[in-house]
Amino acid sequence: MADEAAKTESGKTVLIAIDGSEQARNAFDWYKNNIFKDTDKVVLVHAVEMHEILNSQQWYATPYSFDKDTLFAILEKEKEKVTAKLEEFAQLLRDSKINGTVKSVHSSSPGEGICKIAKEMNADLIITGTRGMGSVRRTLLGSVSDYILHHAHVPVIVCRH
């Protein structure tokens, strides 16, 4: 078909929002089994919520809330956690033999962060699960996926399982 030639020359950039939850893992697997083409550029994005850090136990437990050293220590630990997560995702890519990059974005609103990266990387498609690690379980769709759905300017796939 004449279309075949056109398809192979332009790969699309696929952004998959990952937070380490089972849902996100399923979204990645679904992409691999249903959409993946070897011309795709895959970007796994981990959105880190800033206030997670500041709301953690350690922060409240410090005697002086403006203790510079404690703040640095907490941020260092957060950085380690994020780096470990990114390594997990990178391993995911390696295991699936998919060439891709892993990124993390810090934002008070993870949805906003993901949409920002999508614009920066000119993503052609965003894939997200329905819900991640968040605590509110009563909703049908998590706040991050909901945000992405309402603000992205490219097709969005919401993977429900």
């Binding site: 279309d3 993946f36 070897d38 769709l141 097709p155 796939i157 429900r160």
Partner: protein
């Protein structure tokens, strides 16, 4: 490469709008695998507009309702014919299925009845309110579907 053994039953919701046509084209370009996919195009006719002719001062005129209903049906028939042509144009082998009722609910119901493995829908369709990025039907479908939903926008 994508798993070619798993059969897929894909439902594409189309209301005759250019947005839904865009969604089909996206599917054809990025996902369609002829030997693996069974494609169902669902068109929902919403007759709610036809049945609201009454008002506080004048009861419903059955003739008007009947006429509006017929008009809606004629529009749907034209849309269906067009859908067959659009499918052929895009090189997709699929069946056009019709439903009646509230679009969001019908899409979910039919998708469950037919056991589809994913739903493709445009972010917006023929609706009047243009200020939103995500239309009410696609919003409903995403929130109520038990299978992955692809919301296409351009």
């Amino acid at each position: 490469m994508a798993d070619s053994v798993n059969k897929r039953k894909i439902m594409i919701a189309m209301d005759g709008s250019e947005y839904s046509e865009g969604a089909l084209k996206w599917f054809a370009k990025n996902m369609y695998q002829k030997d693996r996919d069974e494609v169902i195009v669902l068109h929902v006719t919403d007759h709610r507009n036809s049945s609201s002719f009454g008002s506080n001062w004048m009861p419903v005129d059955p003739t008007m309702v009947h006429m509006a209903y017929k008009e809606e049906e004629e529009k749907a028939k034209v849309a269906i014919k067009k859908l067959d042509a659009i499918l052929m144009d895009a090189g997709v082998q699929g069946n056009v299925v019709r439903a009646h009722g509230i679009p969001g609910e019908q899409i979910i119901q039919k998708s469950e009845e037919l056991g589809v493995t994913m739903i493709i829908i445009a972010s917006r369709g023929l609706g009047k309110i243009r200020r939103t990025i995500l239309g009410s039907v696609s919003d409903y479908v995403v929130h109520h579907s038990s299978v992955p939903v692809i919301v296409c926008r351009h």
